[in-house]
């Protein structure tokens, strides 16, 4: 048999019960998994569990001091969310630049995280937004920091039977940005991306967050750059120096999408553009 029956649970509890009992692959929007299955059409399809009908996984809610984004919230849902535009602009920018309308209508934030691509567009913003991910199984629930979730390209700490159920972002309206560079204007996988968020008090940086996409096996925080930026006044000299530091922090490779040398340079360029935007009062300069 090449095809096996698909499971369509009506509730989260049902879904978790199935997940713990059987070897099934949960499918969120499907925009990554179906592409992979398409690549391997000559092998039997695994059994799939479809999460579309679990309403609670699609909600975007404000709680005490945080926002909870359901794992099945689509990029379009996030793009249109007023609350996220206020508190999570780098994420909103990232999803609005990702893929095409058709992809954004299907792709989910949970799926993008689970796919664990170093070029995954929602991940650098989630790093700088200090996001936590709720991982739930029929037996347990845990909340982990996004940075602790990834082990490598496509590799995560997700245990069998566990599902990403929500993404929790602390409420804060510090300014931030997300910038990416692709070969083509639209619909191109990022050669490199940079997200940043900064707590700024009287023109000096109290707390910096910088995350880099597509320059290492996973998305990474630029710790040295952040350390350098903390306490500095946001001026042209600081920006130039930060760009230099971030270039060295990036560990990109040569591949079909770009060269390592180019990627290193561009990480610096994007950080500069983001910081200049902040300096000039544009949140999310793109």
């Amino acid at each position: 048999m090449i095809r096996s029956e698909t499971i369509v649970p009506r509730s989260l509890a049902d879904a978790l019960r199935v997940l713990i009992r059987r070897d099934v692959i949960p499918i969120a929007g499907g925009t990554d998994i179906l592409v992979k299955l398409h690549d391997r059409i000559d092998r039997p399809w695994p059994q799939l569990i479809v999460l579309d009908n679990i309403k609670q996984l699609k909600k975007i809610d404000v709680g005490r001091g945080h926002i909870d984004i359901g794992a099945m919230a689509t990029f379009t849902d996030i793009e249109r969310s007023k609350i996220l535009s206020k508190y999570a602009m780098p994420l909103v920018t990232a999803v609005s630049l990702a893929g095409s309308v058709q992809i954004r209508n299907r792709a989910t934030i949970g799926g993008n995280i689970a796919n664990a691509s170093p070029a995954g567009d929602t991940i650098p913003p989630l790093f700088v937004l200090d996001a936590q991910i709720e991982l739930r199984s029929a037996k347990s629930v845990r909340l982990v920091k996004i940075a602790d979730f990834f082990n490598g390209p496509g590799k995560t700490i997700l245990k069998s039977g566990e599902l990403i159920t929500k993404i929790r972002i602390p409420l804060s309206d510090y300014p931030g940005f997300f910038l990416r560079l692709g070969t083509r204007k639209a619909l191109a996988i990022s050669k490199v991306s940079v997200a940043g968020r900064f707590k700024i008090t009287s023109n000096s940086i109290a707390e910096a967050r910088v995350a880099l996409g597509a320059v290492a096996p996973t998305v990474i925080r630029a710790a040295k750059t952040e350390k350098f930026l903390n306490g500095k006044t946001l001026d042209e000299a600081t920006i130039e120096k930060a760009a230099e530091i971030v270039r060295d922090e990036a560990r990109p490779i040569d591949d079909i999408r770009s060269s390592a040398e180019y990627r290193k340079n561009m990480v610096g360029v994007l950080l500069k553009r983001g910081l200049r935007g902040l300096m000039n009062g544009f949140v999310n300069a793109d």
Partner: protein
């Protein structure tokens, strides 16, 4: 033949909706994959695992035992000749003992479902002995290189010898040498290859599908099956784009589907995935081009020495013809008294290359037009002025010694685009942009001349069948096909104009090899001129029979008849004594009188001459001319190029369908923009580094600039109503115009396509050291 004044036309030159739009907006148009036959099976192809290897053993036992598998065939099962190829018949339908590129097929499967067929194909066990992979055409030319075929790796060598280049260089004040290169690209028709083969009733085979050149393909299929041509029927389905691409690859796919259908006695459908399409379909040739050129201080070209090496890939396909066009056009549209050109097509283990929109011109246009800008810079002339000093004019002699006897309008086209965008002023201003400027502007021009139709490549003739029904409606069919470019509409318009009827009365029927005579291939932008002339011929033969009847009925002489808008009048004005007769009534009366209302129009192109030894002769019976202008903004920090404005001017003789003509230009520019900036079918050691549209980047709606089109109409006496050619000229000039604009902006010249961000910024190509296989296995583990 342009015997009508422009304002006399009722149809020609107007904006006529395509004849096929209703089917296409409702989803009713049927493409190859949309045909289903009762009892149909699904076919799949097993490709080689190595780009170059000896096949030691093929074991189908395991695959054959799978439930739902109906047939597995290998080279041993080929009933007729195992090799095909329109020029050199050496391409295997299925490889028996050796594979030469990564898209070569070893076995085919027919099964109950697509999944089973593909799974079974993957379970066929093949033992190989890998051979060295020859992926560099320059290295492949060496005498001691491993040979891809029995003879030398040099597939073709064309030359031009005109004047004496040494004298020319001696007379020059400046001699420069430059090397340019272009990349292989995909046709990237959005419809992947698809066919349905059905065993016919009289022991024949009928194939319907996405075929561009029905007659080439029929010859190949008949030969593979060992069938006569009249038992091999090819019907063209609505084509989802082709651009030169659905020819040899379709010969292979049609032959395979036919073999399977005959083996199981049931219809077999074969539809390529995008991955398989990219893997096995031929590409546009990558070229390496060396130019040495001499010019006087006053900017007059004296000599050109040109050496071009084209990567033919594993099989010849159309390489001998593609490189021949490059040979004829290699100097660009300039008067060059002394020319020595050598163009080679060389076999490698890369994906084979063949016809693609442009057919050997986009590469040489990129080289010559970059070169003209470089020369102008060296001479401190503006590139427009420098070109105009050397441009072909009325009566000029081309590099092949041909005297141009028609209106030569390349200077006119160039001036038109330059004037339209204030080229000279902007070019100068852009050079003086400060280095502090992060986004710099650039402007660039390019121009070309292009031989119309096949030229000295081969037999150049085409047929059209025009059949008037008893109710006055008309059925038209033609051996040259509509692959999306709008041929059906253009030919219908020519017929409508000729018969004095409206296009809604005409139904264009896709070609069917059993009904329409061999009209050669739908290539070389030859459809409007060849089929248009054939359609006129067919209509005139009909009118010769219908007009006497009309003149008797209306009581006037034949010369007094005015046929227009579905009716026939006896006098030009609407005076009271003017009688009218409906075209439908005339058709009915002719039928009653036993007059046959079916005619077969035929047109044979004027002959051309070519001396292979010297490369001298009248290579094409006429030429078209065009010029492009691009304005860009270059991000000096990222290397990102944005094309902001584009102007195209083309002398196409006469516009038949304005809307269709505009569509050809817009689409040509988009394809040329992709060639210039985005597209690259990258291969590494004979294996493709990409396989789908996620990495093979076409221009999207967001990449397209504001586009303006200037049509220049110098009617050519050889074209229908003076019309010539547009499809290919529209796409050959964008990349060099963009490259020149980028150089104008950055002050650095990129001599290699495409102008990726990395190349514009760092001047280097992407390092493709990452093995695709390791990337894939990494992905698979995710």
């Amino acid at each position: 033949m342009s015997d009508q004044a422009e304002n006399d036309y009722s149809i020609i030159g107007k904006d006529v909706p395509r004849v096929d739009v209703i089917d296409k907006v409702t989803g009713r148009a049927k493409y190859g994959a949309d045909y289903f036959a009762p009892g149909q099976l699904y076919g799949a192809t097993r490709y080689t695992d190595f780009p170059h290897a000896i096949i030691k053993k093929v074991d189908i036992a395991k695959a054959k035992s799978l439930s739902g598998v109906r047939a597995i065939l290998t080279a041993d099962d080929i009933p007729g000749r195992p090799l095909f190829g329109a020029v050199i018949a050496h391409q295997p339908v299925l490889c028996k003992d050796r594979v030469r590129f990564y898209g070569d097929a070893v076995a085919i499967v027919a099964a109950d479902t697509q999944e089973i067929a593909e799974y079974a194909a993957s379970q066929i066990e093949i033992d190989y002995e890998p051979l060295p992979v020859i992926d560099d055409p320059v290295a492949a030319m060496a005498d001691d290189s491993y040979r891809i075929h029995a003879d030398s790796n040099i597939c073709t060598h064309h030359k031009v010898r005109k004047g004496d280049i040494e004298k020319g260089f001696a007379a020059s004040d400046l001699v420069i040498e430059r090397e340019y290169s272009t990349q292989p690209i995909e046709h990237a028709y959005i419809e992947p290859e698809a066919v349905l083969a059905e065993p016919g009733e009289n022991g024949g085979i009928t194939i319907i599908g996405s075929v561009q050149n029905l007659y080439n393909i029929r010859r190949a299929v008949a030969s593979v099956l060992g069938f006569p041509l009249n038992r091999t029927r090819i019907i063209q389905a609505t084509l989802g784009g082709s651009f030169g691409g659905k020819d040899e690859v379709m010969s292979a796919i049609c032959s395979r589907a036919a073999m399977l259908a005959l083996a199981v006695g049931r219809p077999v459908k074969m539809v390529n995935s995008r991955e398989n399409s990219m893997r096995e379909s031929y590409k546009r040739h990558p070229y390496k081009m060396k130019y040495k050129v001499g010019v006087t201080r006053s900017g007059i070209l004296q000599a050109m020495e040109i050496t071009i090496i084209a990567d033919a890939g594993a099989y010849a396909a159309m390489s001998p013809f593609v490189t021949w066009r490059s040979t004829v056009q290699a100097t660009g549209p300039y008067v060059v008294p002394n020319v020595k050109t050598d163009v080679y097509a060389v076999y490698t283990n890369n994906c084979y290359t063949s016809a693609m929109r442009g057919f050997g011109s986009p590469q040489v246009c990129f080289a010559t037009e970059s070169l003209m800008d470089e020369l102008a810079e060296s001479l401190q002339l503006d590139p427009l002025e420098f070109r105009l000093r050397n441009i072909l004019r009325d009566g000029s002699i081309t590099a092949t010694g041909q005297k141009l006897t028609h209106k030569v309008s390349v200077g006119q086209a160039l001036q038109a685009v330059a004037d339209h965008a204030d080229y000279v002023e902007k070019y100068r201003a852009n050079i003086n942009q400060t280095s502090a400027c992060k986004i710099r502007k650039g402007i660039g021009i390019s121009c070309s001349y292009r031989g119309v139709s096949l030229g000295a490549e081969g037999t150049d003739a085409a047929g059209v069948v025009v059949s008037v029904q008893t109710d006055g409606t008309v059925v038209v069919s033609c051996g040259l096909v509509d692959m999306g470019q709008g041929a059906a509409t253009t030919i219908s318009m020519v017929v409508a104009e000729e018969l004095g009827i409206t296009t809604d009365r005409i139904r264009f029927v896709n070609a069917d090899t059993t009904l329409i005579p061999d009209s050669g291939p739908t290539v070389a932008s030859r459809t409007t001129i060849m089929a248009g002339n054939a359609a006129r011929d067919g209509c005139r033969k009909l009118l010769a029979k219908m007009k006497p009847v009309a003149s008797t009925l209306l009581g006037c002489s034949e010369s007094e008849l005015i046929m227009r808008n579905n009716s026939i009048r006896s006098a030009p004005d609407k005076s009271s004594d003017s009688k009218t007769l409906g075209f439908s009534e005339l058709a009915r009366i002719c039928f009653q009188k036993g007059i046959p209302l079916l005619s077969h129009g035929w047109y044979k192109a004027p002959s051309t001459t070519w001396d292979e030894a010297t490369g001298q002769g009248d290579a094409y019976f006429t030429y078209v001319y065009g010029a492009n202008l691009a304005e860009v903004e270059v991000d000096m920090v990222t290397g990102q190029v944005r094309v902001v404005k584009f102007v195209s001017a083309h002398d196409l003789g006469r516009v038949i369908n304005r809307s269709g003509a505009l569509g050809q230009v817009y689409g040509g520019v988009a394809m040329g923009l992709g060639y210039g900036l985005l597209e690259n079918y990258a291969e590494r050691k004979g294996k493709p580094a990409l396989e789908n549209f996620d990495e093979y980047l076409l221009a999207t709606s967001c990449d397209m600039p504001e586009m303006e089109v200037i049509f220049i109409e110098n009617p050519d006496e050889l074209g229908p109503h003076g019309a010539k050619t547009l499809g290919e000229p529209a796409c050959e000039l964008a990349a060099p115009a963009i490259a020149n604009a980028v150089a104008n902006a950055t002050g650095r010249r990129c001599r290699h396509l495409p102008l990726t961000l990395e190349r514009v910024l760092l001047g280097v190509d992407l390092n493709r050291d990452e093995d695709r296989e390791s990337a894939k296995s990494r992905n698979a583990s995710q």
